[in-house]
């Protein structure tokens, strides 16, 4: 790296890397230069003129957001001239601003308010008529109130550059310039809400959140989104046990400020009228609401009886319950119910990948790698729709570091716009020479590569002679964790062979089991009839499977419990309870109560998330992650195995649901917002 540049800001001698902008150099040294349009990571605008500073030897004030540091430069950010410029810039901004702060969603966390408070004038000399235009609705979730807009173009840029969507633009000119959709009167986009999130004022507001609360009335809880496997941190704004919004303005977590529509709005399934809030017991052929005591007692009795009768148990776990729940469930199945008939819906061939990589270190890419590494090979998946965060990271990498992207997919994908090579089909081997010329590579593949395909892919990658990392793309928030925790007939936690592999998912569904216990899954969704003698279902909704159950136990959602989940890149993160929903209990607690009722609790140990996580740390290789990282909302990558996995690989069981942006299995079906938006008609 080049030698740092020495300059003076406000009399302080500071050092900054060459090319650093004055505004950033100041910020790095704790000197605030106010700005609206400057936004780290997006192109420069220099439109708001708030960051004007004095630079010695230049006659006019200069925008700190466009001037790079130079040796010997002398910058002053607090002179009377600068203060005057800021003061009157704010006066200009407020001339046509409606000043409707008391009813504005942004009031209390508005950058314009804050700036006016800190740098503005107390009164306005503007006595003319203001420009007013009525509020517009761009989409089910995006509302636009033009008079509040300060035209910083952050929304236009984040949509174009950040998301690669280009749904927003500017119409008219001069004082009547207005942000507007690029396609007629509505947005054709991912509905991700990034434009709303990034808006410094209350111009763009969210259909889900507007007029619900004042920001300071909410409690902010940082947890992990429960929809896809990317593991975005989302900060829930909650009040009175209601989630009012999701965002990640503090940029903590692997995703920075990024969230897709599911993370930002798709939490609302928790509040669906069909949400189960009391246990159901089948009485005279009909499911009836009963107390928790009755329901648990019924389950425990039946389980104990089945055990005594020597009946077979089947257990189907979930790819969106927490690691603790999965660990406890498999332990319950194997130690109490004495069965290896335990499985979940597998959505990516993680097992084969880990086996193929045995003996090698540092082969699994993280979310951060996607922004930092130099080349990418995307196989099969439509990242922008199925893995929005991963797609966002790669796009940002391309924008900031000109990363090379190679795409081999069945159809057109958004990555085509900035890929080095895009191929249709599966012939990635033809890219060998080009890939060999790269200095490093990250390979992402979806469920269309499984079993021997994965082995061949790893062989191909390892033959390139460059450092290669891999990501097996999986669906749902904890698909990866479910395998890691051994919710599989052939595997124990940490990919140890189970010895006697039991029945897998489909076999259990179709077998005449004594009892089938389904936790957070819906095996009978395609109209299959239950075969098991006794069916217990833990779920949030009366799914097709739950409708056929003998006992239905209402479960808490990911936003209503603590625990950990592991995302597609193997990074463990912590769920934090945001709200409580009356009647529902976390799956872990339900399992613990069943164990207690059965008189088997002692064998399984305590069922608090922290205690179970301690067991995981002791028993699952790779999960010895530093606790402070997790506790402070960070992510820690796990490499749960590094040796051969001596079990028969079952690629036939792997299939992804390929949920797009607006779908998320059962949860998505119950989200009002996800059902209100339509897939963009734009071609990729």
């Amino acid at each position: 790296m080049a030698d740092p540049v020495k300059l003076t800001i406000d009399g302080r001698e500071i050092h900054a890397a060459p090319g650093t902008l004055v505004i950033d150099a100041a910020k790095q040294n704790g000197i605030e230069v106010p700005a609206f349009c400057y936004y780290e990571g997006l192109t420069l605008q220099a439109a708001c003129r708030m960051c004007l500073v004095e630079i010695e030897k230049t006659p006019k004030l200069q925008t700190a957001c466009t001037v790079p540091v130079a040796e010997g430069m002398v910058v002053r950010t607090e002179t009377p001239q600068v203060a005057t410029a800021r003061k009157y810039m704010l006066e200009f901004l407020l001339t046509n601003h409606p000043l409707d702060c008391p009813v504005c969603d942004k009031g209390g966390e508005c950058e314009l308010q804050d700036m006016t408070f800190r740098y503005g004038v107390g009164e306005s000399r503007f006595t003319e008529e203001k420009v007013h235009t009525p509020e517009k609705q761009f989409s089910p979730v995006v509302f636009f109130d033009a008079p509040r807009c300060i035209l910083c173009y952050r929304c236009v840029r984040v949509c174009d550059e950040g998301l690669g969507v280009k749904a927003l633009g500017v119409i008219n000119r001069g004082v009547v310039s207005e942000i507007a959709p690029n396609h007629g009167d509505h947005l054709e986009c991912d509905e991700c809400g990034a434009c709303i999130d990034i808006c410094p004022v209350g111009a763009l507001t969210s259909g889900a959140y507007r007029y619900q609360t004042r920001p300071w009335e909410m409690t902010h809880v940082g947890t992990i989104c429960t929809h896809c496997a990317d593991g975005c941190k989302t900060t829930l704004g909650t009040r009175n046990d209601r989630i009012l919004r999701g965002n990640n303005r503090d940029r903590s977590g692997v995703n920075g400020e990024f969230l897709c529509i599911k993370g930002r709005y798709g939490f609302d399934f928790y509040d669906h009228p069909e949400r189960l809030q009391a246990p159901l017991l089948r009485v005279n052929g009909k499911l009836e609401e009963v107390s928790w005591a009755q329901a648990l007692n019924a389950v425990a009795q039946k389980f104990n009886q089945t055990l005594a009768d020597g009946g077979t148990f089947g257990v189907i776990g979930s790819n969106h319950t927490s690691n603790e729940e999965n660990f406890y469930l498999q332990k319950f199945a194997r130690e109490v119910l004495r069965t290896n008939h335990i499985d979940h819906h597998r959505t990516g061939d993680v097992v084969t990948l880990l086996d193929a990589l045995s003996g090698k270190e540092g082969k699994l890419a993280t979310v951060a790698d996607l922004y930092e590494r130099k080349a990418f090979l995307v196989l099969g998946a439509d990242l922008a729709l199925e893995h929005p965060l991963l797609s966002y990271q790669i796009r940002a990498n391309y924008r900031h570091h000109q990363a090379h992207i190679y795409v081999v997919t069945p159809g057109a994908v958004r990555e085509d716009h900035y890929s080095t090579v895009s191929l249709r089909g599966r012939d990635y081997a033809s890219l060998r020479d080009k890939l060999k010329a790269e200095s490093e590579l990250v390979v992402l593949f979806d469920d269309s590569y499984k079993g021997d395909d994965v082995r061949k892919l790893v062989e191909f990658g390892e033959s390139l002679g460059i450092p290669v990392k891999y990501i097996a793309l999986v669906d749902y928030s904890n698909s990866r964790g479910a395998v890691d925790m051994g919710v599989a007939p052939e595997l124990l936690p940490g990919y140890k062979p189970s010895g006697q592999p039991g029945m897998h998912y489909g076999e259990m569904r179709d077998a005449n089991l004594g009892a089938l216990w389904v936790v957070g899954a819906n095996p009978l969704k395609n109209g299959a009839q239950r075969k098991a003698g006794f069916l217990v279902v833990q779920d949030m909704f009366l799914t097709e499977t739950a409708q056929q159950a003998d006992v239905v136990l209402p479960a808490a959602s990911a936003y209503e419990k603590n625990g950990t989940v592991t995302n597609a890149t193997g990074e463990v993160q912590r769920l934090k309870r945001g709200i409580n929903t009356m009647g529902a209990k976390p799956d872990l607690e339900i399992m613990g109560f069943i164990a207690r009722e059965m008189g088997a609790a002692a064998a399984l140990g305590p069922w608090t998330p922290d205690a179970v996580f301690e067991q995981i740390r002791k028993n699952v290789r790779g999960y010895q992650v530093p606790l402070p990282v997790l506790m402070t909302g960070g992510a820690a990558q796990t490499m749960p195995v590094n040796g051969r996995i001596p079990v028969e690989s079952r690629p036939d069981l792997v299939h992804s649901d390929h949920n797009g942006l607006f779908a998320s299995g059962t949860l998505g079906r119950y989200s009002k917002v996800l059902n209100s938006v339509m897939e963009s008609r734009l071609r990729r």
Binding site: C48, A85, F126, E128, L151, G169
Partner: protein, 437 residues
């Protein structure tokens, strides 16, 4: 047919062929020794061409007056990227109407100037960006281009010199802002016409991210004469540091409005009295805009001894600008003049940056109210204050262009603002004629 009778006081270099029959056709241009300067330049080294232009003391005729030779020398000739020649024919400055005559009467002179610019930086493609309202000129230009291609003065291996050059016309869509060079480039690339952050300047990163020479029509039109007669001869026509002649557009309350080619350093009062034939109806001079509405206004007293060149105008805290002279007589209401100017800028502000977008609109409303007799004494200072808050803080010079004349009018004609106070009707309302800005 000429729009106005030539004046005997003119020095006709660029306009030497104005008024000749069929002056726009390539045949008459060639008959008048056209394209000879190009052939001469094709035998010169690129540095020699630039040296000749530097020697001519030619300064950009679009308004900013940047030395042309120096601008051309900034283009990195060794860049592996293609280079472009772009012509700013987005003539929109109120009071300015010279480029249209240059394109209407003598388009081949412009083409020749572009070709010489191309030789000087090894560019092989050019664009003439014509303002949308000059639709009829597009036909003239396209016809001239077709003739030039047909006769081998454009295209591959021009006249056996081995030099290739492709030239295109492109129309704007009616935005004053697109006369600002970087906004012009954005518009040329098919984007919204808003200015770019500078540096980098167009000489390094211009059209399509490539090195670009971007000059006004009149600037290019001066180039053939410079190469033909030598830079020194052209420089000698004007004053030190500003060579040659300038097409001056005389408008306003003048007896003989029109476009006159005058050497730089021509006295202002002589311009009004002798070239323009004096003020209409024998009225007295009240105010004078030297070069388009963006320039600070001069009072009659300030015109004493002033000459039409960069330094003389700078010493009076105004600018030579684009040559759009506006003469205002004693019956002109200066509040209305300020309003008229501000209406233009408020309408043309692109909306990109805050001070210009909000400031021009505020001032337009404020001046409208003030002119209607609904102003207060504090408004007078406020007009100046708001203008000064824009000045030097906007993204591009449009904000300054709106602020400067307004500040000058408030300072120099404060009494007229006082006369509009207390609900009094405009004292000049009886004089029906308005300044033609």
């Amino acid at each position: 047919m000429l729009y106005n009778e030539p004046s005997p006081l003119e020095t006709r270099v660029l306009s030497r062929r104005f008024g000749k029959p069929n002056s726009a056709s390539i045949d008459t241009y060639l008959a008048d020794d056209g394209y000879k300067a190009f052939l001469k330049a094709s035998k010169m080294k690129p540095e020699e061409i630039i040296e000749e232009v530097k020697a001519s003391n030619l300064r950009g005729r679009g308004g900013a007056g940047f030395p042309t030779g120096m601008k051309w020398s900034f283009v990195p000739r060794n860049s592996p990227k293609p280079k472009y020649i772009v012509v700013n024919a987005d003539e929109s400055e109120p009071g300015t109407c010279k480029d249209r005559l240059l394109m209407e009467y003598d388009p081949h002179q412009l083409i020749e100037g572009i070709l010489i610019a191309g030789l000087s930086v090894d560019a092989h493609a050019g664009y003439i960006y014509v303002r949308g309202e000059y639709r009829y000129l597009i036909e003239i230009l396209d016809k001239a281009l077709a003739e030039a291609y047909q006769k081998g003065w454009l295209g591959k291996n021009i006249q056996g010199t081995g030099f290739d050059f492709e030239l295109y016309t492109h129309t704007g869509a009616g935005a004053y802002e697109c006369g600002e060079e970087s906004a012009l480039l954005e518009s040329l690339e098919g984007k919204r016409g808003v200015p770019r952050i500078r540096p980098p300047f167009p000489a390094v990163v211009g059209a399509f991210q490539c090195p670009t020479i971007l000059n006004n029509v009149e600037t290019y039109c001066a180039v053939p004469a410079i190469i033909r007669d030598g830079g020194k001869a052209f420089a000698d026509l004007g004053v030190p540091k500003a060579g040659g002649t300038k097409l001056t557009c005389l408008t306003g309350h003048i007896n003989k409005p029109g476009v006159y080619e005058l050497p730089l350093g021509f006295p202002v009062l002589k311009l009004i009295e002798e070239v323009g034939g004096g003020i209409r109806n024998g009225k007295k001079l009240k105010a004078f805009i030297p070069g388009g509405s963006s320039c600070p206004i001069l009072t009659a007293a300030e015109c004493e001894g002033a000459t039409m060149d960069y330094d003389s105008m700078a010493s009076r805290k105004s600018m030579l600008g684009s040559g759009g002279v506006v003469v205002m007589d004693e019956d002109t209401c200066m509040v209305k003049a300020a309003l008229r100017i501000m209406r233009f800028y408020a309408h043309e502000s692109c909306g990109w940056c805050i001070p210009c977008r909000e400031g021009t609109a505020w001032l337009r409303k404020l001046l409208t109210r003030f002119h209607q007799g609904m102003g207060t004494r504090t408004d007078i200072d406020l007009i100046g204050d708001v203008s000064r808050n824009m000045l030097g803080r906007t993204f591009c010079p449009l904000g300054d262009a709106a602020a400067l004349p307004t500040i000058s009018i408030v300072e120099k004609f404060r009494q007229e603002f006082e006369d509009h106070l207390d609900g009094k009707p405009c004292p000049f309302e009886h004089a029906r004629h308005m300044v033609t800005v």
